[in-house]
């Protein structure tokens, strides 16, 4: 009996030894000094390295570190030299000539030329051509990048010589300078077909795994999915090298842990913190909190599908197709309350579909609404929605209106919004049935017949995030997007016409007039009620790196913006003595050479103490067992 207990202990010990051995075998020791790392934390989990499959903010952040855009984005999101260092447009505005940077090389040492840029753009043009030729359409990967060229009206691309790229467009515009398309190395990518590159489920042999070859400042060299991605300096980078030798983007399952890691100095930057964490960090002298204005919004989207009844699906009442009905409901939404309660005050009440982030394009509504239940009731009555004897609002078919309000389970804060909406609309006699829907199922429910679905919903609460240009945010309400990006099925010919007009307008003032009219149309007819523009809450340490600059300068954030400038502008505060305007910047607790992280040998004492305690505990237990198992020497 005793021997079996001993055997069990021995077996357990052997298992532990095996585990250590298993862990040890995965280590590749390389002798070198520890590089200076910039570590950022995010709640998002990077899932792809192929830029065409990018959807999440972190996906985009990763590809802008790896690659250059043809034209990059500067500190104020203005066009600055990227893969091309100069460009000019013909007098008719239809032919763009880009000069590709001389002597530029890919991170593997291969020359980077106009052929690479032409290859990348042609890939997208090929996909678009295939989409046009097929009744069903075609998308390259997630389908988020094609729009940058189609909206700019690109028809052809050519590389007459190694340093010249010529792009022709169907109409004059400036969108080409804001194309968020990374220029890819032809010599790496041309080995794969369009289908392999554009696969949507990852069943392709080509995943663009590390080491990634690009012209960006940092190249992905190690990726542990679900954990972190590590970038090393691109030795051939054409621009000013950033102070960090390496960049690590770490995924955190709990933002509480990320915030603690920021406070302890293990990470330098964190994106996506909560309002209470933000407030708690404000008092930390080594940490700068940043409340960035959001390039996006959260909305109440109505199912306005009006192309005939949908068998077994569709909205529960035709009232949702009526702009007057939606407008009346919008009078009973208190945006300021939602900002205060749902966002903890970190955000702006919403009005139009172009957020104030777009300072040049945002227009406040010409006929603004305010929160006024009485006005909402008046407007419902005027529009012909009468109350029945039980105080229930009837639609024009004489049926009491009860609206299904749902939101994806990934957006938990919408549960709060839904409760407020329910409270306000019930004062109008409009019933609300609020419930959460699993995100995958909701995406299915949102599909209209054009995409093989039933559009089986009334109202959904969700949000959009925009680009440097408002085009993509304006695009989602186009009639042409029904069956694709449109989730409200808004179908207004004037809106669609304005979209094309603004897209083809090179004169900024005229373009603004079109965009303003679009914002007003969408505001007045309310296929969306914009609830708020939620703030981006970030925080970073001030004691390790300097040179943090917000993008845009007014109201932006240093990282997770547009392009890699936020990384290359950083300076190393530990290398040089603290500048005079930065008193006590180096007075932090970890001013040791090599910028010791807590795991450095300088901090080994508690570790050794911990190890000794651990060994003592296990040894003590073993001794107890062994003594009991001592051979019997006395009479039993």
């Amino acid at each position: 009996m005793q021997s079996s207990i001993r055997a069990r202990l021995a077996a357990t010990a052997a298992t532990v030894a095996l585990i250590f051995a298993g862990l040890g075998s995965s280590v590749v020791p390389v002798a070198a000094a520890d590089p200076l790392q910039l570590k950022t934390g995010t709640d998002q989990d990077l899932q792809v390295l192929n830029p065409f499959s990018s959807i999440l903010v972190v996906d985009f952040e990763v590809f802008t570190l790896n690659y250059d855009l043809l034209v990059n984005f500067g500190p104020d999101i203005e066009p600055v030299p990227g893969f091309a260092d100069k460009w000019e447009v013909s007098s008719d505005g239809l032919t763009w000539t880009f000069h590709i940077r001389d002597g530029m090389k890919w991170s593997d040492g291969t020359p980077a030329t106009s052929a690479d840029a032409a290859y990348t753009y042609q890939l997208i043009l090929d996909a678009t051509a295939r989409s046009d030729a097929s009744a069903d359409g075609y998308y390259l990967g997630a389908g988020y990048l094609e729009g940058y060229l189609t909206n700019a009206g690109v028809t052809a691309v050519s590389a007459p010589d190694a340093s010249t790229l010529v792009v022709t467009t169907e109409f004059a515009n400036t969108l080409l300078l804001q194309a968020y398309v990374p220029i890819l190395p032809k010599h790496v990518w041309e080995k794969y077909t369009l289908d392999e590159i554009g696969s949507i489920d990852g069943s392709t042999p080509f995943l663009n795994e590390p080491t990634v070859v690009g012209t960006g400042p940092y190249q992905a060299v190690e990726w542990e999915p679900g954990n972190f991605i590590r970038f090393a300096r691109n030795p051939y980078y054409w621009g000013t090298q950033g102070a960090a030798d390496e960049v690590v983007i770490q995924t955190f399952q709990s933002m509480d842990t990320a915030v603690q890691a920021l406070k302890s100095g293990e990470i330098d930057y964190v994106r996506g913190i909560q309002p209470d964490q933000f407030k708690a960090l404000q008092s930390d002298p080594d940490i700068q909190v940043v409340e960035g204005i959001s390039n996006g919004y959260s909305e109440i989207a109505f199912n306005t599908y009006s192309r005939g009844p949908i068998e077994g699906g569709g909205a529960s009442t035709k009232a949702l197709q009526d702009p007057a009905f939606r407008d009346a409901l919008a009078w009973a939404i208190d945006q300021e309350k939602l900002v205060e309660v749902t966002l903890g005050g970190f955000g702006e009440p919403g009005d139009t579909i172009v957020p104030p982030f777009h300072t040049r394009w945002h227009a406040s509504p010409t006929n603004p609404r305010r929160f006024d239940i009485a006005e909402a009731i008046k407007r419902l009555d005027a529009a012909g929605y009468k109350l029945d004897a039980n105080g229930k609002r009837l639609d024009k078919e004489g049926k009491p209106i009860t609206l299904r309000v749902t939101w994806p389970d990934s957006e938990a804060e919408n549960a709060t919004n839904a409760q407020f909406i329910k409270g306000w609309w019930e004062q109008l006699g409009v019933g609300v049935d609020a419930y959460v829907t699993e995100e995958g199922k909701l995406l299915d429910d949102l599909l209209p017949p054009e995409a093989g679905g039933l559009a089986n919903f009334d109202i959904e609460l969700w949000g959009w995030v925009g680009d440097p240009d408002p085009t993509s945010l304006l695009n989602v309400l186009r009639g042409e997007e029904i069956g694709s990006f449109s989730d409200s099925f808004y179908d207004n010919p004037r809106y669609d016409e304005l979209f094309l007009l603004q897209r083809a307008e090179a004169d900024e003032q005229k373009r603004f007039e079109y965009i303003k009219e679009m914002q007003n149309l969408a505001y007045d007819e309310a296929p969306y009620i914009v609830m708020y523009y939620d703030a981006e809450l970030h925080a970073y340490r001030k004691d390790r790196f300097g040179g943090w600059t917000n993008q845009p300068t007014e109201g932006g954030t240093p990282l997770f913006g547009y392009g890699s400038g936020g990384y290359t502008r950083l300076t190393d505060l530990s290398a040089a003595p603290a500048p005079t305007d930065q008193p006590s910047a180096s007075a932090g607790p970890t001013a040791a050479p090599g910028d010791g992280t807590p795991s450095d040998t300088s901090n080994a004492t508690p570790l050794i103490v911990g190890g000794v305690v651990l060994v003592a505990i296990i040894a003590g237990g073993l001794v107890l067992m062994r003594r009991r198992a001592a051979p019997p020497t006395e009479e039993e």
């Binding site: 009996m1 079996s4 207990i5 357990t12 298992t15 532990v16 585990i19 862990l23 000094a33 520890d34 590089p35 570590k39 989990d45 899932q47 499959s53 959807i55 097929s134 069903d136 998308y139 389908g143 949507i200 489920d201 069943s203 392709t204 042999p205 995943l207 190690e222 542990e224 999915p225 679900g226 972190f228 390496e246 690590v248 399952q253 509480d256 842990t257 603690q260 890691a261 293990e266 995100e439 995958g440 199922k441 995406l443 299915d444 995409a451 694709s484 607790p589 795991s599 040998t601 901090n603 508690p606 570790l607 911990g610 651990l614 505990i617 296990i618 003590g620 237990g621 107890l624 009991r628």
Partner: protein, 338 residues
């Protein structure tokens, strides 16, 4: 007789595992939403044609159940998802992750199981050593100061959730005292000059989560061991031993302890099965790259094949741990061998 006992227990475990595989299959077919949506990662950009191709490639067009009653009578489908799933699972093929592009579920689980086994294997060892010693001593010196304090501490630890304990350690030892790192298992991109460096880095990351796991378990073991010792000490054979003039220490070690260990053996074996399940909260707090964080990631990303794999691993671990408990118990106590 021992042979049939073994065969019966192993047979029961095998049947349970097959049942688990079938339930595991059914469970995920009952989930709302469609798997092809997950494969698309929420992009609205998809055409009906590509959706169809996707369904075909991932075998989603096959009938789910082998038998259906759609056209009145029962129809049998040889090409059904259930048989394929059970067959593949038994042969060790758990399919491909929806999210970790191009990786099999076995690969994904394989990468994440070692950190969890390390953390919880070691945590169990520490908790067993500490808990049994504490429990035995407090039971033996019942009413003494050690019992008083030990029992109180045990109860507090037993009732403290892992995440609370972990967060407290994090705040005190990582953020405030800066003794240990706050997250992860190894420093990302760290270059190790020697294996010692590697183990120091691993050890530094391991201490806090390990302390959380061990202390979370220790109270339970101590409490069970204590009551078991107290019960045993009042048995007739202990009185006999006393009457024979044996020393108190000898009575405890030779007579009371071996018998008192029986209930704890069951508890420990069953706990081993829940090791992975318990991993979730501790791993999330310390961002430990094990099965716990994987489960949360797979849940939020709706990576059904990986979730299915985790569920299978969890339930099989519990079944096997129970089997081990049964067998060890049979070994320790001949009365249960019938």
């Amino acid at each position: 007789m021992g042979g049939t006992f073994l065969a019966r227990k192993v047979g029961q475990a095998a049947i349970t595992i097959v049942a688990i595989i079938v339930i595991n299959f059914a469970l995920f077919r009952l989930m709302p939403g469609s798997p092809e949506r997950v494969l698309l990662r929420g992009t609205p950009n998809v055409t009906a044609e590509r959706l169809e191709a996707l369904r075909e490639r991932w075998g989603l067009n096959d009938p789910i159940s082998p038998i259906d009653f759609a056209d009145g009578g029962p129809t049998f489908h040889a090409d059904n998802q259930l048989f394929k799933y059970v067959g593949a699972t038994l042969s060790g093929d758990l399919g491909y992750s929806f999210i970790a592009r191009g990786q099999t579920v076995v690969d994904v689980l394989g990468q994440r199981i070692w950190p969890t086994l390390l953390l919880f294997g070691l945590g169990e060892l520490v908790a067993i050593a500490l808990g049994l010693a504490l429990g035995a001593y407090s039971g033996w010196r019942r009413g003494g100061p050690i019992d008083y304090v030990g029992n109180g501490v045990s109860l507090i630890l037993y009732s403290t959730p892992y995440f609370l304990l972990g967060m407290a350690f994090l705040l005190i030892f990582a953020t405030t005292l800066n003794w240990f790192p706050t997250y992860g298992m190894l420093t990302a991109g760290r270059v190790y000059g020697s294996p010692i460096d590697y183990f120091l880095d691993l050890g530094a990351h391991l201490i806090l989560p390990l302390a959380t796991v061990s202390l979370g378990l220790v109270g339970q073991y101590a409490i069970v061991m204590r009551s078991s010792i107290i019960e045993t000490l009042s048995e007739d054979y202990v009185n006999t031993a006393r009457a024979m003039g044996l020393t108190e220490g000898r009575i405890l070690r030779r007579h009371a302890l071996p018998n008192a260990l029986l209930p704890t053996v069951t508890l420990i074996a069953i706990n081993l099965g829940y090791v992975i399940a318990g991993a979730i909260t501790v791993e999330v707090v310390f961002n430990w790259p094990g099965l716990g964080t994987l489960t949360v990631q797979a849940l939020t990303a709706r990576d059904y094949p990986v979730l299915q794999g985790v569920f299978l691993l969890l339930s099989v671990a519990v079944v096997l741990a129970n089997l081990v408990a049964d067998l060890v118990y049979g070994l320790l106590d001949p009365r249960v061998r019938t």
